[in-house]
């Protein structure tokens, strides 16, 4: 792996995000949707209703953010380059497929995790400042905070490789985005089931899920690299 080439792709991608209104919009709107529901819940539950919150892990509901935001970014990564005609010049350079994909993955990972942590921090601050004290205590619990910190990057990584894999095969960026979000739904479903205590949030479950996510992410990287066929992407001959 040549880190200068990875860094070149990473920096280029971030610059493109900065200039692309659609990407900024996608990065802003999805987290806001997932911020609204728990905020409304936190502000509307009376102090004596906080007992029900103790039985749920509502904070984990926000783990959908690191799943969906990078999925949207990663889905554009390869097919977007192909559509705008920039893939061929990039592939004409000495870059290896895994360097290109790693650079793109990193560029989707960093802003997604920053946004996810940022929104989460915003939520915590809002609850601490404006919700009833009982509600804040019931919502903000150490294990949930830890789970949020640890699972945010793990979920984002898996989501990114799924998005990139979809992007290498798709012929249209919008279809890629839809398929990528669709492919991320099972992960969102699992986090939601844990949030609403359907799947018990125990240490064993957390460890198991963490290992599964690590393994799937590693496999996802290999799978996406294997799907990245330079010849097919350039000639569009299947």
């Amino acid at each position: 792996m040549n880190w200068r080439r990875v860094r070149a792709i990473f920096r280029k991608e971030l610059r493109e995000y900065r200039h692309n209104g659609n990407i900024i919009y996608a990065m802003a709107i999805l987290p806001l949707i997932f911020l609204l529901q728990p905020l409304i819940e936190a502000f509307t539950i009376p102090s004596n209703g906080s007992a029900s919150l103790r039985r749920e892990n509502s904070l984990l509901y926000m783990l959908a953010i690191p799943v969906l935001v990078p999925a949207a970014l990663a889905a554009y990564s390869v097919v977007g380059e192909r559509i705008q005609g920039t893939l061929e010049p990039v592939l004409s350079t000495p870059i290896r497929s895994e360097e290109l994909l790693f650079g793109k993955a990193l560029a989707a990972f960093v802003p997604s995790v920053v946004v996810a942590y940022g929104i989460f921090g915003l939520f915590i601050a809002a609850v601490e400042l404006f919700a009833h004290q009982g509600v804040a205590t019931a919502l903000i619990r150490g294990p949930d905070l830890l789970a949020q910190l640890i699972f945010t990057p793990l979920l984002a990584t898996l989501s990114i490789w799924v998005g990139i894999a979809v992007s290498t095969r798709a012929s249209d960026p919008r279809i890629a985005a839809q398929l990528s979000l669709l492919a991320s739904l099972p992960t969102v479903a699992v986090t939601s089931l844990i949030a609403f205590n359907v799947i018990p949030a125990t240490l064993h479950v957390a460890l198991g899920l963490g290992i599964v996510l690590l393994v799937l992410s590693r496999l996802g990287w290999r799978f996406a690299t294997a799907l990245f066929n330079r010849e097919r992407l350039i000639t569009q001959v299947r």
């Binding site: 070149a8 280029k12 920039t86 061929e88 004409s92 350079t93 000639t235 001959v237």
Partner: protein, 326 residues
């Protein structure tokens, strides 16, 4: 951006920048190009001509390791064309595709910086500055590529191709879609690169462009039909002729043309015209003038037939289509 590195790749006076032997590429049943063989020396400008769908771009992409050949072998910048050598080959070459393929939201300098890093060029800022000066775009470095005209984008793409000081530069239809002034700018840049000793493989539809820029050309139409210098191809395909026009018909043309050196044959062209097939026009033309003056003929014109590369191209393509149809 000096030509030193290009020249540095030479290992002798006849070092080959490109050596292609029986190269073919099929996409399933469809043949993109078949059994293509040619060689290019360092410092040459080689034109790859051919109609649409002839396989020119696929040939360039294959030699640039973007797609794998179906069969045959090649050496690109001294390295065997194999999948495992892809990175090493791409380090030594640059490809400018037909579409500039720039990041339109990024500035010119940001585009070049990205590619300078991908090529791992030392001192990238200096290299970018020199590349921009070479294409006369130093004052547009901070402009977003999306705001540039097509001609300027093409120049940025050329600057990008120059960043790595390539030993072999592939230019795929570099003036496609450009207006005459922008095309002339690109021609001037190619001329400058030639003077610096860069080996250039140029695909084009514009035959006059190839005639002006290329040392040798190859005409590709799935198979490589012919390769040579434009004047060699003309000589190979067309007999040299002198066309004479007189005020009145000659009384005895056989007698007049009898002693003309290198004359192969002659035929009338209208009442007062004569077409003389000769093997050396420089030896024959003065003798024809003297013979006509000696018999008192009033000469209106004496001209050497001129065949362009376009004539060669059309003759080659037409001839091969006839052969294919038989």
């Amino acid at each position: 951006m000096s030509g030193e590195s290009a020249a540095g790749a030479q290992t002798g006076s006849h070092a080959l920048a490109l050596s292609v032997h029986g190269l073919s590429k099929h996409f399933g049943e469809r043949i993109a190009f078949e059994d293509v063989s040619f060689e290019i020396e360092y410092g040459e400008v080689f034109g790859l001509l051919g109609p649409n769908g002839a396989g020119k771009t696929t040939t360039v992409r294959t030699l640039g390791t973007l797609i794998a050949p179906t069969s045959g072998s090649a050496e690109v910048a001294g390295i065997p064309l194999k999948a495992e050598n892809g990175v090493e080959i791409r380090r030594r070459i640059a490809i400018m595709p037909e579409s500039p393929g720039l990041y339109l939201r990024l500035s010119v300098a940001e585009n070049l910086r990205c590619f300078a890093d991908l090529y791992e060029v030392p001192d990238p800022e200096d290299r970018i500055d020199r590349a921009l000066h070479a294409v006369k775009l130093a004052d547009r470095a901070d402009d977003a590529c999306g705001t540039l005209s097509k001609g300027l984008r093409q120049r940025v793409a050329l600057a990008r191709a120059l960043l790595s000081d390539p030993k072999v530069l592939f230019l795929d239809e570099p003036t496609s879609g450009l207006d005459p002034a922008a095309a002339r700018d690109v021609h001037d840049l190619i001329d400058e690169m030639r003077q610096r000793g860069v080996t250039i493989i140029l695909t084009t539809h514009r035959l006059w462009e190839a005639e002006r820029l290329c040392d040798r050309v190859g005409i590709l139409s799935t198979t490589l039909r012919t390769v040579g210098r434009p004047d060699e191809l003309r000589d190979r395909l067309f007999a040299k002729t002198l066309t004479v026009k007189t005020l009145a018909p000659l009384a005895d043309p056989d007698h007049v043309f009898a002693g003309i050196p290198t004359l192969d044959s002659w035929r009338p062209d209208g009442e007062t015209g004569y077409v003389l097939a000769v093997s050396n026009t420089q030896a024959a033309a003065p003798a024809v003038t003297r013979a006509l003056v000696a018999v008192g003929a009033d000469v209106l014109s004496l001209a050497e037939s001129v065949h362009t590369l376009e004539d060669v191209y059309l003759e080659t393509i037409d001839h091969n289509q006839e052969m294919d149809n038989q």
